[in-house]
């Protein structure tokens, strides 16, 4: 059978990896797919660079529309990224009856509903294994591997940049700013690292996983997003003393009231496997009612790991290319007609436990004031760590860190209690609040 022809839009890091792996493992991939898969046309603004990657025999253009218009091409890989031109090109490819493979989590997390509807109407697939956790086949695990389960919750380290930074902060006892500069120097963080360090990239990814876990529309605008920029070396150290690690987690849970969808730094018990995922690695923990807790670990970014996911999607599409669309796995794991409108909860309705660090005056009665406020709010305390006082002011005036771990509490209740504690004259600095997840 003639190889299936693929058009590639954007041949940067992941695009080059995809081209190279597809070529290097051509024989093995064909033995699996039952048919050759070839990138025969590439669009990139930098035609010279693209030609240097693909060599002779592959048509290179600077106009993506020309690739989409090529009637010999059945599948388009979109690796341009972002919400702008990429959206138009994906919709144009669908309109032209092409299947689409994309790593573009931002696009799908924000415009997924429109894009998947267009694809379903046209009878084509938009595949996105590469959009979440790089080479880890987590989309497949969720959409196909765990179909027996009512998924209860999932939590993932799904941004390598922030996990690298947190690992370095812990290893070396350094503060965020110092490690960020080092990460930028080493290429683990971009020149503008905002999307990573503010949690936006992780939120895009957990939004996609939430949709396929629960059969709800992608709803990035409902996600709570908090990054790691305010974390200090002290919090990492105190967490360690209490038996926890701090990780930036993308979390989505099903509760009786609705679905939680959130990204923020979290204390995780040090003995959990996911707490021991270091450096730029990714891992996702999924809990289903039948299977219990499962974990998926691997490289979450990079040229060939991401290419591995892109090509897995190409093989799946090659297999089902000529099949009736009803034989395919639905975009969001559940049939389009069975997508639910279960509500995504506002952050104030989320229930979790907390780590609080208060910088307090070292005076009699401070602990009683603070714990009195928590008791008044009905928040129960799991553990307290009071440090020996530091000499800071003159005249023997001293300060200390008071660390409190709470049991499960509604976030809105915690917000109110924090406002009261913050108003105490003995609380000398903004309270640090980090959420805590047991992930059992």
């Amino acid at each position: 059978m003639k190889p299936i022809q693929v058009g590639l839009l954007g041949i940067g890091t992941v695009g080059s990896g995809t081209f190279n792996v597809l070529k290097r493992n051509q024989e093995e991939i064909t033995r699996r797919a039952g048919r050759g898969i070839e990138i025969t046309m590439v669009a990139d603004l930098d035609v010279a660079r693209a030609k240097a990657v693909v060599g002779e025999g592959v048509q290179v253009v600077n106009d993506a529309a020309a690739v989409i218009a090529n009637p010999d091409i059945d599948i388009i890989i979109e690796l341009i990224g972002g919400y702008g031109i990429a959206k138009k090109l994906v919709l144009d490819a669908i309109a032209a009856g092409k299947h689409v493979v994309t790593a573009n989590k931002a696009l799908l997390a924000v415009h997924g509903t429109e894009i998947f509807a267009a694809a379903s109407a046209k009878g084509v697939v938009v595949a996105f294994e590469a959009a979440v956790a790089g080479g880890i086949p987590i989309i497949k695990a969720l959409r196909e591997g765990l179909t027996a389960n009512r998924i209860q919750w999932l939590a993932g380290i799904i941004n390598g940049t922030t996990n690298f930074i947190l690992s370095e902060m812990r290893d070396k006892g350094l503060d965020f700013d110092v490690v960020l500069k080092e990460a930028q120097r080493l290429g683990y963080a971009e020149a503008d690292p905002t999307f990573d360090i503010e949690g936006v990239d992780a939120a895009h990814k957990v939004t996609l996983m939430s949709a396929i876990a629960y059969g709800i529309p992608v709803q990035f605008d409902k996600a709570y997003v908090e990054g790691i920029t305010k974390l200090g070396a002290a919090d990492i150290k105190y967490a360690e003393q209490l038996g926890y690690r701090i990780k930036l987690l993308g979390i989505t849970k099903r509760t009786a009231k609705g679905i939680e969808l959130r990204v923020h730094p979290s204390l995780v018990p040090a003995k959990r496997l996911i707490a021991n995922v270091e450096g730029a690695m990714n891992a996702v923990v999924v809990n289903g009612d039948a299977v219990g807790t499962t974990l998926y670990y691997g490289k979450g970014a990079g040229s060939e790991p991401t290419a591995s996911a892109v090509i897995a999607d190409l093989v799946d599409i090659t297999r089902l290319h000529t099949a009736d669309p009803q034989h395919r796995v639905p975009h969001l794991a559940f049939q389009p007609s069975a997508i639910s409108n279960e509500v995504v909860l506002p952050m104030s309705e989320v229930v979790t436990s907390y780590y609080l660090r208060l910088r307090v005056a070292d005076e009699a009665g401070v602990l009683a004031q603070v714990t009195g406020i928590l008791a008044g709010a009905g928040i129960s305390i799991d553990a307290v760590l009071q440090r020996e006082a530091d000499e800071v002011g003159g005249e023997g005036s001293t300060q200390t860190d008071l660390i409190i771990l709470t049991h499960d509490t509604r976030e809105g209740t915690m917000n109110d209690a924090m406002a009261q504690m913050q108003a105490l004259p003995t609380v000398l600095a903004p309270i640090t609040r980090i959420r805590k997840e047991e992930l059992a």
Copy 2:
């Protein structure tokens, strides 16, 4: 659309779990599959027990042939186990044009070639996610998630009983026999634990993974199998001091000379995630040339975790039931026409590194004799740990443990060197040899 009808052969632990999960999550599973899935007929020798599980409305018989003969049933779940009657029933179901879902690793590892050929000829699927690592979707990850890759190696903790025993031995410093009894009392080990503790069960599972990783026939008879019965608490303690844990691993590697396929206790660096998989949990590490190292973790046995895998296969088959067989994923990941005859190496040709423990007389020159033999065989030493001598004999005669870690060596070379060392008069007991894997 009418629900797809499933017949269940054998309703023990996993069968009950499958029935219950399918019923409990009926709505969610239908939303995914696009069609209901119902177990409508059950065969079990204990009809009364079976009726107690399934209640009214499901036909229960004591004759599996009656289920296979039922023309309304499209899929047969085989949960009888073993090579005997299960083989006949699976082949009969295939002959009757039914798809088969099975958790029977023993059957497939030994008779897989015959069974898959029969299924392909008849145009039906034999699905076996539940045969390896319980609820972890590792078969799907290997067959579909990592299709881009040339798999280099994989290694798994794929027998919960032995991992539970090894965890307990380490935690409590106890010897194998003591912990086995405890495991039997707790239900983690069977009354006749031979298949588990001798590594046979793990060998069945790694044989299946080897076939789908490399596109070779299932060849259980070529697997090297060594269990954990000879491990002592001392080796676990020494390994710990050297920075390693001991795990029973199923390993398959691709080398220039051929494929390694083996089960044996292995030292693994304590910092690897898989070294920290404790109790009855399972985990598989897979290394592909594009994706790098990935890991999959979860419950490897039990009623509902295994049911999760059985039902995932039911959903896959329900989706592709009426599709042309060419649209389906091939049984062994590679197209039947593309299965390779790459050789599986005999154990003497395997290359790995080693932990050796020698019980030696505490005399001058012993270390020189031992290291001289290794040097003569071209085996280079990575680390040596010599214990302080124990007083054991009378008259001041003392013995000690000498522990040696080697670099990579051909097993045949190591066998020869071990025979020479064993012949030394200063070597007082059989040498303990445990293989060591870096799994990087």
